[in-house]
Amino acid sequence: MRTPTRRQISVFAFVLVLLLLYPLFVKGSFPLHVMIMVFLFAMLGVAWNIMGGYAGMFSFGQAAFFGIGAYTSSYLLTTYHVSPWIGLLAGGVLAALAAAAIGIPCSNLRGHYFAIASIAFAEIVRIHFNNWKLVGAAEGLTLPILGQSFRNFEFHSSKVPYYYILLGFLILSLLVCTWVSTSRMGFYFRALKESHDLAKVVGINFVRYRLAAIMISAFLTAMAGTFYAQYILYLDPDSVLILPISVQVVLVAMLGGAGSIMGPVIGAAILLPISEGTRVWLGPKGTGIDMVVYGTLIMLISAYHPQGVWGLFSRIGRGKA
């Protein structure tokens, strides 16, 4: 994805205005919740994209960073009454450090091995948190219900402030992703994405850039984790550290178009309403058909149109491909 065309920017601006106005017209708690889930996974997908779609490190363990972010800010809040905003930064930093710790030894691993290593890493984190008494082990952490305010990062009478905050986070992530993509780092990634040998020959300090990508990705993912904690006000290992979350992040990015800035946003906009909607309408019948449809969709997209939806869109801005 090169620098966006003017047409694409205007489409983006138009959509942004719609999103900003959405809560003024749609008041229901459930539709707002769906949009918040869309933003959440869009953000996670964008963060994943930085290390996956761009730097070619396909992580299937993002839940580890999501959980580290959520747990860090929640633990600091419940035990030391630290503001969740500071906890947000702390979680991001811890996640970035964890990413570096795992990223350095794994920097030589190729595609499949890296993917499995990321799963192994995330599972170790999950199992540990599940047994770690300090953070509540399997019981998790319950956040205190404080008066609603921006400072407390809690809102009770309406979801609208959560909506705008997360939209802000998402835009921030998109800006970071754009910066990565259009910077020298992004250039190197694009040129050398799947050829590690070439990278060595050319002699660029590829490892350093990959590490930066992993750390940025982890930081943003952890931010999303803190948001989740403040939104639900309760977390346990099974809500934030499980493999299905990591997989959903990858699916969102891939469906929308990995390696494109807006791809994950589109992917989330499609997958999350399907996921929430099928649960609400098909769920109570209890047959699991929603997931069958979901799985089929993924198979078909990967097999027959792997460049994702964005692959279709990006032609619009440029005329005939």
Partner: protein
Amino acid sequence: MGNITRRSFLIGGSALAVSAWMVPPVWGAPKTIKIGGLYPLTGNLASTGLDCRRGAELAVEIINGKYDLNLPLAKTEGLPNLGGAKIEMVWADTKGEPKNGQAEAERVVTQDGVVGVIGAYQSSVTKTASQATERLGIPYVCSDSSSPTLTERGLKYFFRVSPHDGIFAHDQFNFLKDLERVKKQKVQTVALLYENTEFGSNVGKQEQKYAQEYGYKAVEDISYTANATDVTSEVGRLIKANPDVLMHASYITDAILFTKTFKEMGFNPKGMLTMAGYIEPGYLPAVKADGDYFIVRSTFALDLAKSKPLVGKVNELFKKKFGIDMSENAARSFTAPFVFADAINRAKTTEAEAVVKALLETSIPGDQVIYPWKGVKFDPQSHQNIYATGTLVQVQNQQYVTVWPFESAAKDLVWPFPAWKSRK
């Protein structure tokens, strides 16, 4: 010109129709009282969710219809103080995830207009769902989640009817004391074995506490993964520790796996005291005779019908409607709708504050519940039903029979646990 007038008429007309539909009627008593039911209707625990739902469905049918049963509001159709208004359940699928608990609770309240919520089986989901209803100011009556922490949060709108794991753990140790006193069987050491999600680890904590309080030595304390591929290490450690009694908190999958491994490796303590998984409807069909002589905590047992005919009658209705006997899960979820209906009826309105006040004044007598309780009465602080107790049942000939408290036992306890090798 004509087009525009017609179009604007259509738009205006439909807007009017839609808004009329959205505005709730402000006159007259409600004809239906909507209650939200949150359960894992899909996902891993779908069969349990379905179980719970059946129990609640039967309860609602009894309330809405005219039945000659000694249950609150059974003999009248609907709620008499609200003009015979009937209960309508709005079911929501949580898929067993806490975030869905919150989303679904909010959805059924704000979009479907339910005036109360029941559910959600898994304590972690009940936690977030009831947090949502607290924020929205809607009463929540839970009769199927057993984590003690649920009633330790100081919530105003949350009530729990059924016993919690602290009570169940306490029961186990009371049983051991009774065993010594009445049956003259002494127990000195226990081993604690529990799966490592919130349910199991909470039970483990409670058991550690009571073991110390009652003076029993915990010679082993093992937390394990519920869906393990193999549990030979865990059982190996138990054999090595050689406890008098094993206390096991598990789900159904680990109950099955451990039962088989106990037999395979020959683990023979004097007694097996278990929770949850061993009383799931799928356990005995899976392990058959190997399940014999396990003792399980229970709120409900079919043989209660001997001392309480009401239980038998309710089970008959259940069997007629669903084709199977009532399970413990169905029995637990059966109660919440009654508690709600009784409170709303006394409050004479569905308005939240009045309902909460009525719930606090709940006093359902013991002969109107299908458990061996003294009734339903909520502690004013914690909102836990102070009369909720458990019993212990033992599997004998692949049936669950009540063996404790000894006074209400249907059959004699088999103790010690017959060694695997000595059985057929």
